[in-house]
């Protein structure tokens, strides 16, 4: 069977941390939780191709991105991964439209007219058409997130990586944006990896959750599985913070 999602088996030493992770997403989001320093960011940077994978294999929608045994290591530029970092990393010197256009123009030689149509479509899809000519600096956190999503998705990536997607938001905005994001990611149906340290995010965004501790996946399951049968003190405390 061809895996439609993102599957990976990674062994790497990044800084002082040894990561050894095996994961598989279906279509739809998989949430990775774990304490600070457990290797969540290192894991993302390995998948992205910023940090090298020492041993292992990464496959997205049937395409092999990394296979150290076969000497395959697709450069970051050609991995076709959508990445939304914690602070959204919008280009501050460009408008919302220019941010999206930059992505499209970088990815493929598309005619100007089609490019404009695709930009308009993705802005409409994320309900940010009226922000098109604004600089990104003055936008709210929720708006910035939509722009970052629009920019990542317009190039039709094979998978989506979200690093702490709600951490940059204040408490009031967080609930609303979380609901939007949860709905949006489910409808999108793209293999998605979400990294978070927030229990409410994990509960609402992930149909499946994997626990990363000290560089290893220590438990996986649905929120209910984890709540019923916490595999570690961290999971137990993590679940408890969701109600608050």
């Amino acid at each position: 069977m061809i895996a439609r999602g993102l599957t990976l088996r990674i062994e790497s030493r990044i800084g002082a941390l040894q990561i050894d992770v095996e994961l598989e997403t279906g279509p739809g989001p998989l949430v990775i939780i774990g304490p600070n320093g457990a290797g969540k960011t290192s894991l993302l940077s390995s998948i992205l191709g910023v940090s090298p994978v020492e041993r292992g294999r990464i496959e997205v929608a049937g395409a092999v991105l990394v296979d150290t045994a076969a000497g395959i290591d697709v450069p970051l530029e050609h991995r076709r991964l959508g990445y939304v970092p914690q602070d959204y990393a919008l280009f501050p010197h460009l408008t919302v439209r220019e941010n999206v256009e930059f992505a499209l123009a970088s990815s493929a030689a598309i005619e100007r007219q089609e490019r404009a149509q695709r930009v308009a479509a993705v802005l409409r899809d994320l309900a940010i058409s009226e922000l098109a000519e604004r600089r990104t600096r003055g936008l709210s956190g929720g708006e910035k997130q939509r722009v970052a999503l629009a920019r990542a998705l317009c190039v039709r990536p094979q998978a989506l990586l979200l690093d702490e997607p709600l951490a940059a938001l204040d408490v009031h905005a967080r609930r609303e944006v979380r609901e939007f994001l949860s709905r949006y990611l489910r409808e999108l149906g793209l293999p998605t990896l979400v990294v978070t340290h927030d229990a409410a995010d994990a509960q609402q965004l992930g149909s499946r959750i994997a626990v990363l501790e000290a560089g290893r996946i220590t438990q996986r399951g649905t929120w209910a599985d984890l709540a019923q049968n916490p595999g570690s003190k961290f999971v137990e405390e993590f679940i408890a913070t969701a109600g608050r």
Binding site: Y83, P85, F102, R137, R151, V155
Partner: protein, 269 residues
């Protein structure tokens, strides 16, 4: 602030700072204050003034173009590398800042002089660099490039690395990332660095004197002309000095305003 001791101590600190301010401002004040319009006019009529002004403009423009053209890619590379090799390169590039200009002049003669390490290879081909206008430009590049490269490197380092990673995920090539993301974001830092570097080139004296000599119209830049004029006519030296101070002062104001606007832009969310 009723406590007299607090006030005394504060005053003592202010006074000791004031001594240095006086020492720094006094020569510049004397330079400007003792000049009269008539003496400036007479000074600027000295025959060595205009060729020197022209030559300084020509050589510093050339050196600035070279420094920016070659220094920007270097700074970008240095800002993105973390290895020991990159740090060694960075140290080499910064070295001219701390090397005395006279030493730089000797070193340039030993490297590019007729019998120099590299100059001796060029001489048979009919190329002789010392004591030419090209030598002036070379001396200026040598002493001024570090200022630009340093400012540009730190400007590039201030760019959020995630911006670069995100740009690359779209498939943007290194040249595209550099020109469309890194350059515009670092632009104010590059401009400030270029201005500082230009000011250093404009004031360059020691290395030029030793490597390029002091020939009117060919290698006699403004600082060399001031040195020469001092022996002929103090008014000419003063007039040229006033010109240099005014230019330098204008440049300083410009750099500070660019940097201030930049930091304001960075601060606003």
């Amino acid at each position: 602030m009723a406590d007299p001791r607090l006030r005394t101590e504060q005053r003592a600190l202010a006074i000791s700072g004031g001594i240095l301010v006086f020492f720094l401002a006094a020569p510049l004040f004397a330079l400007i204050a003792t000049a009269t319009v008539a003496s400036l006019e007479a000074g600027l009529r000295e025959p060595l003034v205009w060729p020197a002004l022209r030559l300084s403009l020509l050589t510093t423009t050339s050196s600035l173009v070279l420094v920016v053209l070659f220094g920007t890619p270097l700074a970008w590379t240095l800002a993105r590398s973390r290895g020991r090799f990159a740090r060694a390169i960075e140290t080499i590039v910064q070295l001219p800042i701390v090397i005395p200009p006279a030493v730089a002049g000797v070193a340039m003669l030993l490297a590019f002089g007729r019998r120099g390490l590299f100059g001796s290879l060029l001489y048979p081909l009919g190329v002789s660099l010392p004591f030419t206008t090209a030598a002036v430009v070379m001396a200026e590049v040598f002493v001024s490039a570090p200022f630009f490269v340093q400012a540009a490197t730190s400007a590039f380092r201030r760019i959020d690395p995630n911006l670069i990673v995100v740009a690359r995920t779209f498939g943007a090539t290194p040249l595209r990332v550099f020109s469309r993301i890194a350059l515009p974001l670092a632009a104010p830092g590059l401009v400030a660095g270029a201005a500082l570097s230009w000011a250093r080139a404009l004031g360059e004296f020691g290395a030029t004197l030793m490597f390029a000599g002091n020939f009117e119209g060919r290698t006699q830049t403004l600082p060399l002309a001031i040195y020469t004029a001092l022996e002929i006519d103090l008014r000419a030296a003063q007039a040229l000095s006033v010109v240099l101070v005014v230019v330098a002062f204008g440049l300083l104001i410009f750099v500070r305003s660019v940097l201030r606007r930049w930091s304001e832009r960075e601060m606003t969310p």
